[in-house]
């Protein structure tokens, strides 16, 4: 069912029960375009500034290593705020991802806290979430929330700052100006498709009570004192343009086959590979489609930039071998029974990303500077 306004179908993440409602994505885009954001961001920044702690940190910024981190940290520093950045090692980064993390910390000269989870337990949880909910990145997202809150609590910092409020921006699930905050409800609804972490873990993960504690969303006593804010709720958010700023600071975009957006999640070995494939299997929608919707809706540009999925099998094999340390037969079983049909469907529906396609000029810089990773799934790498 297509929306009369934006010409796009309802986002596949939304349930079928919503199909006769107004197109929420279209509404969200209009709200973002129409809303007068004047002074809103400044108001939030002043609020954060007035709440500095004794250590001088105004807020925590959790990093993923992608271009948005650069934009957020740059914006905060330009407004005379002193953020402390946190990073949880997902063990999924390639050489580009590690470069981008280290380069951010060095370039902006910010204090950082880095957490490397126990690899064997983390690996068990990742393999469990792939089996049960087809989401290999859930464990790292939960770890990242927890670590950011713990860092904020230990340093008496009242704010955690994120960039994009994804459900409002990509799917229109919420009004663009709803001023959503990170909460337990948020994580259960958006990261776990309505389940709780307890339900996911208790469905067969070999994790002890102690192991699980690192992944739990902080309890009410903590979230009462610390607010997780999304900057995209306080300004006209244009993630493609915002992310280009990172190129001025030595950020490396990564060539992708699953999207034309080489800036978002650049440096993550799994994001546009197994992770995207499982998303297509579950919802029939890859991240590349989301980026195309953004280009159509916010930039009024033709977004018929189709994707090819040629490297996915190779990368997935590497994930099984290098990260999961699985046997070849294990991979083959998973490929035959879980991935094969989806990959074939993707290949059937996709066309190669054609460089001759007419990308907007302002986007071309990110395509020209894009590099190919020399090594995938690097567990740890020393910085600059």
């Amino acid at each position: 069912m297509q929306c009369k306004e934006c010409g796009l179908g309802l986002h596949p993440y939304l349930p079928t029960a919503t199909q006769d409602l107004q197109c929420p994505f279209c509404q969200s885009v209009l709200e973002n375009i129409d809303k007068n954001y004047s002074g809103l961001l400044q108001e939030v920044i002043e609020k954060i500034k007035n709440n500095s702690n004794t250590g001088g940190y105004h807020c925590v910024v959790p990093l993923r290593g992608d271009a948005e981190d650069y934009y957020v940290v740059d914006l905060l520093i330009k407004n005379n705020l002193n953020p402390i950045v946190t990073f949880c090692n997902s063990y999924f980064l390639n050489d580009i991802g590690w470069h981008n993390i280290h380069n951010l910390i060095t370039t902006f000269d910010v204090d950082s806290r880095i957490f490397n989870p126990n690899l064997s337990r983390y690996r068990e949880f990742v393999s469990h979430t792939i089996r049960r909910i087809m989401d290999p990145k859930l464990p790292i997202r939960m770890l990242s929330y927890r670590f950011a809150y713990e860092t904020a609590e230990q340093n008496n910092i009242p704010y955690i700052i994120y960039g994009t409020c994804a459900p409002a921006y990509y799917t229109g699930k919420f009004p663009a100006n709803a001023q959503l905050r990170l909460s337990r409800w948020w994580t259960e609804q958006h990261d776990m498709s309505g389940s709780t972490l307890d339900e996911i873990i208790n469905s067969g993960a070999q994790l002890s009570h102690h192991d699980v504690s690192n992944y739990l969303f902080p309890d009410g006593q903590v979230t009462k004192k610390i607010q997780g804010l999304f900057l995209s709720n306080y300004m006209k958010w244009r993630h493609l343009e915002n992310n280009l700023l990172a190129l001025n600071h030595g950020f490396l975009p990564q060539s992708q086959t699953g999207t034309f957006d080489y800036l978002e999640n650049s440096g993550c070995s799994i994001h546009y590979n197994l992770h995207d494939l499982l998303r297509i299997k579950k919802f029939g929608n890859g991240k590349g489609n989301d980026h195309s919707r953004i280009l159509v809706a916010y930039y009024n540009d033709n977004a018929d930039y189709c994707n090819s999925y040629g490297d996915i099998v190779k990368n997935t094999q590497l994930f099984f071998k290098k990260f999961l340390e699985s046997t070849q037969s294990g991979f083959e079983w998973y490929y035959e029974n879980k991935l094969k049909s989806t990959i074939e469907r993707c290949k059937h529906n996709s066309r190669p990303l054609n460089e001759a396609q007419n990308f907007p000029d302002w986007l071309k810089k990110s395509l020209e500077l894009a590099v190919t990773p020399s090594e995938q799934y690097i567990l740890f790498k020393k910085g600059i």
Binding site: L21, Q22, P24, K173, L180, R184, E188, Q189
Partner: protein, 236 residues
């Protein structure tokens, strides 16, 4: 003053409302997740509205889905069911131990309402049934909305003696376009309704509104969707 939360649902999903039409709803996630979040945030009570347009689409199935969602969420808070509900369906739900009380609107505008009210109170107890006054400022005049006839009613022509028989009265403001800015309505109807019976709902989405409501000594306020956006809300 009690602080509750209000959810709009089709029995399975929760929605954010932007007007009185189904197509103006925005999806907020599964009802179970939302209920869990409200329990976690330690609200005093929850009002669940199941609008007529959902019931007429899915028939009694919406109620069955709602019952299952509530049961599976292990909600430990008192639940009020609102939204054009009929006695039979509410009795069904009450008998299955899912909700504590119902909130009625159409009945307030019908003949023989007092007898029906007394019958329900006799059967389920006086606290079982609350009145749901839907209030809107239309062309500078405050009016009550009758859901069954889809008509606005002048507040001077309303039967306040009937209203007085209810345990509590939910004053649900519609068309707020955000949060309640002023409490002008209270100047108009304060002599007709006891403040300590009033549950304020609709457009209650920030601390300022809550503290203002507290000054009037209302029985409760029902936070709208903002309740879910922020887990620090219960600190208020």
């Amino acid at each position: 003053m009690r602080i509750g939360a209000m959810l709009l649902t089709d029995g399975l999903h929760a929605y954010q409302s932007f007007g009185d039409e189904r197509r103006n709803l925005r999806y907020m996630g599964t009802l179970q997740t939302c209920l869990r979040a409200l329990v976690y945030q330690k609200f005093d009570e929850i009002t669940i509205a199941l609008p007529a347009y959902f019931r007429s689409i899915k028939g009694s199935l919406a109620f069955e889905q709602l019952r299952q969602s509530i049961q599976q969420s292990y909600v430990s808070l008192p639940i009020t069911l609102a939204g054009g509900t009929s006695e039979e369906l509410n009795s069904l739900i009450v008998n299955q131990q899912c909700i504590e009380r119902i909130s009625v609107n159409s009945m307030l505008f019908q003949d023989g309402a007092l007898e029906r009210l007394k019958r329900l109170q006799g059967h389920f107890g006086e606290q079982f049934i609350v009145a749901n006054l839907v209030i809107k400022l239309s062309n500078g005049i405050w009016k009550f909305f009758d859901h069954s006839n889809h008509k606005f009613c002048n507040i001077d022509r309303f039967d306040y003696e009937l209203l007085d028989q209810f345990d509590e009265v939910s004053c649900h403001f519609i068309g707020q376009h955000g949060s309640i800015q002023k409490f002008e309505f209270w100047d108009v109807i304060s002599e007709k309704i006891q403040a300590d019976k009033v549950i304020l709902a609709g457009g209650v989405n920030n601390k300022k509104v809550i503290s203002e409501a507290n000054k009037f000594n209302f029985a409760a306020v029902l936070m709208d969707n903002y309740a879910l956006y922020s887990e620090h809300l219960h600190a208020m």
